[in-house]
């Protein structure tokens, strides 16, 4: 499984990005993400361009490639389905942790 994640917006305007190539995660982390992807039914989700763009809310763009399947979902934080939230939170935490690595 390969993942590309981007969170933009928010009052800070800072963009958080994460690219996870195939095999880049430890097995337990990869298993956890795999479970969240399945739980969210990611490959069945539609992008939901917001009818009214909302000031200072986060916007997510997530692309996952797995075997022959590749799918992208674009969604505002306020419109993200509940099933997708745990996956977005996990990827946000992972992106933050990776971004902080250079400090160590």
């Amino acid at each position: 499984m390969q993942i590309e994640f981007e969170r933009s917006g928010g009052i800070t305007g800072a963009v958080l990005r994460l690219t996870l190539p195939e095999g880049s995660l430890a097995k337990d982390e990869a298993d956890k993400l795999q479970a969240l992807v399945e739980q969210s039914r990611f490959f069945e989700l539609q992008s939901s361009p917001s009818a009214a763009l909302k000031p200072d809310r986060f916007h997510y763009r997530l692309t996952i490639e797995q075997g022959p399947r590749q799918h992208t979902v674009d969604v505002d934080e306020a419109d993200a389905p509940a099933s997708l939230q745990p996956l977005l939170q996990a990827l946000t935490a992972l992106a933050r942790a990776r971004a902080h690595t250079p400090r160590a």
Binding site: G9, I11, T12, G13, P55, D56, H59, R61, Q89, H100
Partner: protein, 353 residues
């Protein structure tokens, strides 16, 4: 001479039935016409009813906003969840509750209300006295604050990069101004109108801070979000209106990407077309105007921008429209060919618009 203006169209307030023995239309009447004690009772009852019905979190729109005609703040604790508004912890007239985030939010909501009322004779976000509600401790490690269409929401920050978002009074002024813009020009939140929407929030957010500190334009720091970064971040704030692009340069956050001139304008596929980035250009135009006009920035430059927001900008206004609209506003407020109008025109020219 200038004149203060108050604008904002009255909106229908359809509450529908609420869980209360007194019908909502009577509560609304009492909330506007009763004695202070009666108004307090009616507003609290309306607020509790809205909470019980959970309708704010579902609809979150203007229809549930309760006009008060006076400053009325309520702060809630979201208790690290995402269901709004949460548990009420401080209302108008209460002593500080001891929760720093809640007390900071309460004070900053008041500072924002005070700027709009004293400088522009505007009654709250909708100019009808909309009650100011804010929820603190939203979600976990949430690096953000936002206006959801009817209330403020504040995260505690992740502690690594950002402190709690109630620390910065201009951030709270910024968010409430999104509500003002929603009720006035209604600038679409994408592309140039979106960057103008962001800039207007920065402008009035900065004015809230400057008025609180009793500062002249030349003494202000013109920073947005000063104090939000932890010590680990190499930077002073989220944005600088005086020198866009210089607020931070950090290994994790990168370099502040804001341009201060049209030469640096960027067409972007994210952030709704770079609304938080290109806003540096109109931000600097306002800063230059305020410096040129000297004194308190809300007394001249702020009046011009507020007039333009209420009467000259539309939902699809571009930077060029804003330049024309603010120059026209300066002429209407201070006279054609006045030094104020010339200062506005020079400022936009200097940023390449």
């Amino acid at each position: 001479m200038y004149r203060a203006v108050g604008a904002g169209s009255p909106r229908p307030q359809g509450l529908g039935g609420v869980f209360c023995i007194v019908p909502p239309h009577i509560l609304r009447e009492v909330s506007q016409r009763g004695s202070p004690a009666q108004r307090g009772w009616a507003l609290n009852t309306l607020a509790i009813s809205e909470q019980l019905r959970g309708r704010r979190s579902v609809l979150g729109g203007l229809a549930l906003s309760t006009p008060t005609g006076e400053k009325r703040r309520t702060v809630y604790d979201a208790q690290h969840g995402t269901i709004l508004p949460g548990r009420r912890i401080r209302s108008e007239g209460d002593k500080p509750c001891g929760d720093p985030a809640a007390d900071e939010a309460f004070e900053a909501l008041g500072a924002t209300y005070d700027l709009y009322w004293s400088a522009f004779k505007r009654k709250s976000v909708d100019n009808r006295g909309l009650r100011l509600d804010g929820s603190v401790h939203y979600s976990d490690s949430y690096d953000n604050a936002f206006w959801d269409g009817s209330q403020m929401v504040f995260g505690d920050g992740d502690g690594e990069l950002f402190h709690r978002f109630t620390l910065s009074v201009d951030v709270i002024g910024h968010e409430l101004t999104h509500g003002v813009t929603q009720h006035e020009a209604g600038l679409v939140y994408a592309g140039q109108p979106g960057a103008l929407n962001e800039s207007i929030s920065d402008v009035f957010g900065s004015l809230v801070k400057q008025r609180k500190l009793k500062q002249d334009a030349k003494d202000a720091d013109w920073l947005i979000g000063q104090g939000l970064f932890t010590k680990q971040v190499k930077g002073v704030a989220l944005r600088s209106m005086k020198a866009p692009g210089t607020a931070y340069d950090d290994p994790v956050l990168g370099k502040d990407p804001q341009p201060g001139h049209m030469k640096g304008y960027r067409e972007l596929s994210y952030d709704n077309g770079g609304v938080h980035i290109n806003s540096g250009i109109p931000n600097r135009a306002f800063y230059l105007t305020a410096i040129a006009l000297k004194g308190r920035a809300w007394e001249k430059a702020g009046q011009i921008w507020y007039h333009a927001l209420c009467y000259r900008l539309r939902r699809d206004s571009s930077f060029s429209d804003a330049a024309k609209g603010t120059a026209q506003s300066a002429a209407e407020l201070f006279g054609s060919a006045s030094q104020e109008q010339k200062a506005v025109e020079m400022s936009w020219k200097e940023v390449g618009v």
